[in-house]
C-alpha cells in the first residue's frame, strides 16, 4: 500500500489569510504567518473562537479554544491507512490524526473500516485497547483507550465515533 503524499506543509498560510494574520503576528511574535510554511508538527496557536473543524490545524485550534490541553507527539504510520498521521496528546492521551487530501478521500478510507474498528478491509488489527474512530471533513482520527475526558473532547470536536468499541 503506497503512502499518499503529505499535504500538511503550508497550512498555516492557507488557513490564516493575510488580514487574519495581522493580530496573530503581534500575539505570536512573527513566525506562523510569515511567507514560509509553519512547522505543522507543532500545534498552532488558536484563535479565541473555534472555527469549524475541517483539518488538522482547525482541530488543534478547536482544542485550544476549548482550553483543552493538546500537544504534538510526532508522526505515525499505519500499514492499512494510506496517509501518514500525526500524534497529538489530548488530555494526556495519544490520539492519531490522519488528514486526507479531500473529504471524499477520507470517506473512501473510512468506508473500509469495520463498525467495531478492528478490521480494515482484509486486515485484522490487535489494538492495545478499545479503538475509537472519528471522522470529519478531511480528518480521520483514531483514539485507542477508554479515557472518558479524551473521548468527550473528541466527540465534541468531531461528532460521534463512526467505528470502534
Amino acid at each position: 500500500m503506497g503512502l499518499a503524499p503529505l499535504a500538511f506543509e503550508g497550512y498555516a498560510v492557507k488557513h490564516f489569510p493575510p488580514l487574519f494574520c495581522l493580530p496573530l503576528v503581534a500575539a505570536l511574535a512573527v513566525t506562523n504567518c510569515a511567507a514560509q510554511p509553519a512547522d505543522s508538527n507543532q500545534p498552532q496557536q488558536g484563535s479565541s473562537r473555534a472555527r469549524p473543524v475541517t483539518d488538522y490545524v482547525s482541530l488543534i485550534d478547536y482544542f485550544r479554544a476549548a482550553e483543552i490541553k493538546v500537544q504534538a507527539e510526532g508522526k505515525v504510520e499505519q500499514p492499512f491507512l494510506s496517509v501518514t498521521g500525526r500524534v497529538i496528546k489530548v488530555h494526556g492521551e495519544e490520539v492519531q490524526v490522519f488528514q486526507y487530501s479531500s473529504a471524499g478521500a477520507m470517506e473512501a478510507q473510512a468506508a473500509k473500516i469495520s463498525p467495531d474498528g478492528r478490521t480494515v478491509e482484509t486486515s485484522k488489527i490487535h489494538w492495545l485497547g478499545p479503538p475509537h474512530f472519528f471522522k470529519k471533513e478531511k480528518l480521520l482520527v483514531l483514539y485507542i483507550g477508554d479515557e472518558s475526558k479524551t473521548l468527550k473532547a473528541l466527540e465534541a470536536a468531531l461528532g460521534r465515533q463512526f467505528a470502534g468499541q
Partner: protein, 277 residues
C-alpha cells in the same frame, strides 16, 4: 460389483455419516467472513514463512504446533520470503510471519489476507516489536497470545470475544488484559488465552470440512501419506475423515480421526474393497 463401485458406496456412506455430525457445529460461529483457503480435497498444509527474530522463533513454533492439532489443516514453518519485515511482502499460497519495530502506532499485531472471491490467496502476520520490546508485553503470555491469534486469522478465523476485561475464554482468539489468566488488577481472568481451544478447531472444521473447492490457493497443499503416491487417485477424498491414525492389513483397513473439538471426535473405520483380480 466392481471395486470402484464398492468405494463409491463406502465413501457415500461415510460422507453421509460425517455430514450427520455437522449440526453439532452450529454454535461455532467465529469465522472471518466466509474467507478460507481453497483446496480440492483433504486436509492441507499451510506454509508459515519465518521472518521473525530468534526472540519469536519459539512462539512461532508453538503456534504452528498448536494450530496443527486441527484435523483439517497443518502448518509448517519454512524460510521466510518477505525479505523486509517492515513491509512484509506476501507470498502467494502461504503466510509470511514478520516481526520488527513498526512504531508506537497502537497495535500489537496485524493479520492481513488477500482474497479472490472468498478464497484466501496469501497472508501476512506483523508483530510489533515496538511494544514487545517493552516490559509490559515482553512476556511469554503476550507473545503467545498475539502470535497465535494473528496466525489464526490467516486461516479465516475471527475473534471469539472482543472484550478485554472479562473472564478469558481459554483461547488466543479472545481479547484480554491478562493473557496468562489468573488474577490481574484484582480481577480473576480465569484460564490462559495463549493457545487455541476446542471451539477454534470446531470452527476450522466447519469452514474446511464442510466443502471442497474446484481449485487450490495453497501452495504445497494436500497431505498425502508416505508411500501412498501410487494410490493417489484412489485416496482422494479421505481427507474429509480427518487424519489417518492407523493403517493395518497392508492398507486394507484404516482408521481416520476427525477432531470436532471439546473432546468430540469422529472416528471413521474404513475397510477398503479387495482389488479385482
Amino acid at each position: 460389483m466392481s471395486m470402484a463401485f464398492h468405494r463409491r458406496l463406502l465413501t457415500a456412506l461415510l460422507v453421509a455419516l460425517s455430514l450427520a455430525a455437522f449440526p453439532a457445529f452450529s454454535h461455532a460461529e467465529h469465522s472471518w467472513g466466509n474467507y478460507h483457503w481453497a483446496r480440492t480435497n483433504g486436509s492441507f498444509t499451510l506454509n508459515l514463512g519465518d521472518n521473525v527474530s530468534a526472540a519469536w522463533d519459539g512462539y512461532l513454533a508453538t503456534a504452528s504446533v498448536d494450530w496443527s492439532v486441527s484435523a483439517v489443516l497443518d502448518t509448517t514453518i519454512v524460510a521466510g520470503k518477505a525479505t523486509k519485515p517492515k513491509i512484509c511482502r506476501p507470498t502467494s499460497g502461504r503466510v509470511e510471519v514478520c516481526a520488527t519495530t513498526y512504531g508506537n502506532n497502537g497495535w500489537l499485531g496485524v493479520a492481513s489476507i488477500w482474497i479472490s472471491g472468498s478464497h484466501i490467496t496469501q497472508g501476512t502476520v506483523k508483530l510489533n516489536d515496538s511494544y514487545f520490546n517493552t516490559a509490559k508485553y515482553n512476556t511469554p503470555a503476550w507473545r503467545n497470545l498475539v502470535m497465535c491469534q494473528e496466525v489464526g486469522h490467516t486461516f479465516g478465523l475471527d475473534h471469539q470475544d472482543e472484550t478485554f476485561n472479562d473472564v478469558n475464554k481459554g483461547t488466543c482468539m479472545d481479547y484480554t488484559n491478562a493473557p496468562a489468566g489468573g488474577i490481574y488488577n484484582g480481577f480473576d481472568y480465569g484460564p490462559t488465552n495463549e493457545y487455541p481451544n476446542a471451539h477454534d478447531f470446531e470452527e476450522l472444521a466447519t469452514i474446511y470440512a464442510s466443502h471442497f473447492d474446484s481449485t487450490t490457493t495453497v501452495k504445497q497443499s494436500v497431505n498425502s501419506r508416505p508411500g501412498a503416491a501410487n494410490h493417489e487417485p484412489e485416496r482422494l477424498g479421505t481427507g474429509q475423515w480427518g487424519k489417518l491414525v492407523r493403517s493395518t492389513n497392508h492398507g486394507r483397513t484404516e482408521l481416520y480421526e476427525l477432531d470436532l473439538g471439546r473432546g468430540r471426535k469422529v472416528l471413521t473405520h474404513v475397510i477398503w474393497a479387495e482389488p479385482e483380480e
